[in-house]
């Protein structure tokens, strides 16, 4: 009975988090080419809804204490939209772990709302595995 309960809970959690799946894969090329433009999903996933609750109701009261730009919640939403749930999750955990001052040694700093922040967008953390679009000038 015990393994069954564990299995059911795991299945429920997986179904909840994976319900909306990854962002539209067909648009990934345009994301890479534009660098700044993110694909916008029409319906937010479960993880994005959780992040929205955090951003709107907790972070709004807690204040902006994130040393990085974009903030962790914004970064996370962008990562989920760009790469789907699994990679979005991994990249969010990565961001939460490396949010500290050690990141400043390898990332540039920018001025945001009058504060010096560490510039650490999604493309600075997926550059080593995320493929960009086909080159139209490549000779076949």
């Amino acid at each position: 009975m015990k393994p069954l309960r564990i299995l059911l809970t795991g299945l429920f959690l997986s179904a909840a988090f994976f319900s909306n799946g990854p962002a539209a894969r067909g648009d990934e090329g345009s994301i890479a080419s534009a660098n700044q433009h993110e694909t916008v999903k029409e319906r937010p996933g479960f993880a994005e809804r959780l992040l929205s609750i955090y951003r709107d109701h907790i972070s709004a009261v807690d204040g902006d204490r994130c040393p990085s730009y974009p903030t962790c919640s914004s970064y996370s939403v962008q990562a989920f939209r760009k790469h789907g749930f699994v990679m979005g999750w991994l990249m969010t955990v990565d961001r939460l772990i490396h949010e500290g001052r050690e990141e400043a040694a390898v990332s540039p700093r920018i001025l945001s709302d009058g504060k010096v922040k560490i510039y650490d967008p999604v493309e600075n953390n997926d550059f080593w595995w995320h493929r960009s679009e086909q080159n139209p000038h490549e000779k076949n």
Partner: protein, 309 residues
């Protein structure tokens, strides 16, 4: 009698107005193609790229068959490139290549497409085009420029020996040759840059959360990763031990994310470390090629170099 006088007065007015039909208070302007192109170039030099595009399009509207029309179209692409509107720039350069095949301006346009990718950091695509120019284009100066930039592109891709060879291919007569010779020698130093192996970082992080971060010199991040994973594993273990299976499953599910994220983070840290070391090294080298100067006051496109002392 009164009616006749009024009619006569009106008749005189009409005759007077007909007597000087060209008289007008306004003045007319004559647009000359050279002046119009110069106006656009001035806007480009001042950094007013949107105005430069408008003036160049005005030039093309009034002088579509002018001999400088291909250059004007090329300059529209250059304006977009300077304004960092890379897609627009590529579309314009593409059209120039299609409409004027085999001409010098089409070679310049192809080079600029490669430059747009280079400026965006899409080095893989830039490399393909630079290589094509070096191998196929007859104009020696475009070939030299492409070889020079190919060297930079290969350095960005950690292919130091190939980069050195690419710089070596710039011929002695080129204004870039001195810089290229210097870079050909210095680029080989890239082989000796310190680096962290991403695979090692990942394996260490999998063996013990946090150890991968320590390997990439991020000790605080390593401690954070170790504590987070340790806490979740301990909490999940305790929950199962106390027969709180649902809570244990939730915690184990969360821990799976922390553990996987810890491995991803360690690998990412290694890549970012290598990238930072490489960028510091590249910043210490001097790039003599400035794409912003490929215009002349006569409206021709050409090569200019920026020298920094």
């Amino acid at each position: 009698m009164k009616r006749i006088r009024c009619s006569g007065f009106l008749l005189i007015l009409i005759l007077l107005s007909l007597a000087d039909p060209c008289r007008s208070d306004g003045s007319e302007a004559i647009i000359r193609s050279d002046e119009q192109l110069r106006l656009a170039e001035e806007a480009l030099e001042k950094g007013e790229y949107q105005r430069a595009v408008v003036e160049l399009e005005r030039f093309l509207h009034f002088f579509p068959d002018d001999e400088k029309a291909p250059n004007a179209r090329y300059l529209i692409g250059l304006s977009y490139l300077k304004a960092k509107q890379y897609e627009n720039a590529r579309n314009v350069f593409d059209a120039v290549i299609q409409d004027y095949p085999g001409t010098a301006v089409s070679g310049q346009a192809l080079f600029m497409i490669a430059e747009s990718y280079y400026m965006q950091g899409h080095f893989e695509k830039a490399e393909v085009i630079y290589t094509r120019i070096v191998e196929e284009y007859p104009d020696p100066e475009i070939r030299n420029r492409a070889a020079y930039r190919l060297g930079w592109t290969l350095m960005h891709r950690d292919r130091w020996k190939e980069a050195s060879q690419a710089f070596h291919n710039v011929v002695r007569t080129s204004p870039l040759s001195q810089s290229a010779w210097d870079l050909s020698r210095k680029s080989l130093l890239g082989e000796t840059l310190p680096s962290k192996d991403p695979v090692t970082a990942g394996v260490l992080a999998a063996a013990l959360p946090g150890l991968g971060h320590a390997y990439t010199n991020r000790y605080k991040d390593g401690i954070v990763a170790f504590l987070l994973n340790g806490l979740f594993i301990w909490a999940a273990y305790e929950s199962f031990h106390e027969d709180l299976d649902v809570l244990g499953s939730i915690l184990a599910f969360m821990e799976l994310g922390w553990y996987s994220g810890n491995i991803y983070s360690a690998v990412n840290s290694a890549h970012k470390y290598n990238k930072a070391v490489k960028n510091d090294f590249l910043r210490s080298l001097q790039d003599r090629l400035d794409v912003g100067m490929f215009t002349t006051r006569e409206g021709h496109v050409g090569l200019s170099l920026r020298f920094t002392f």
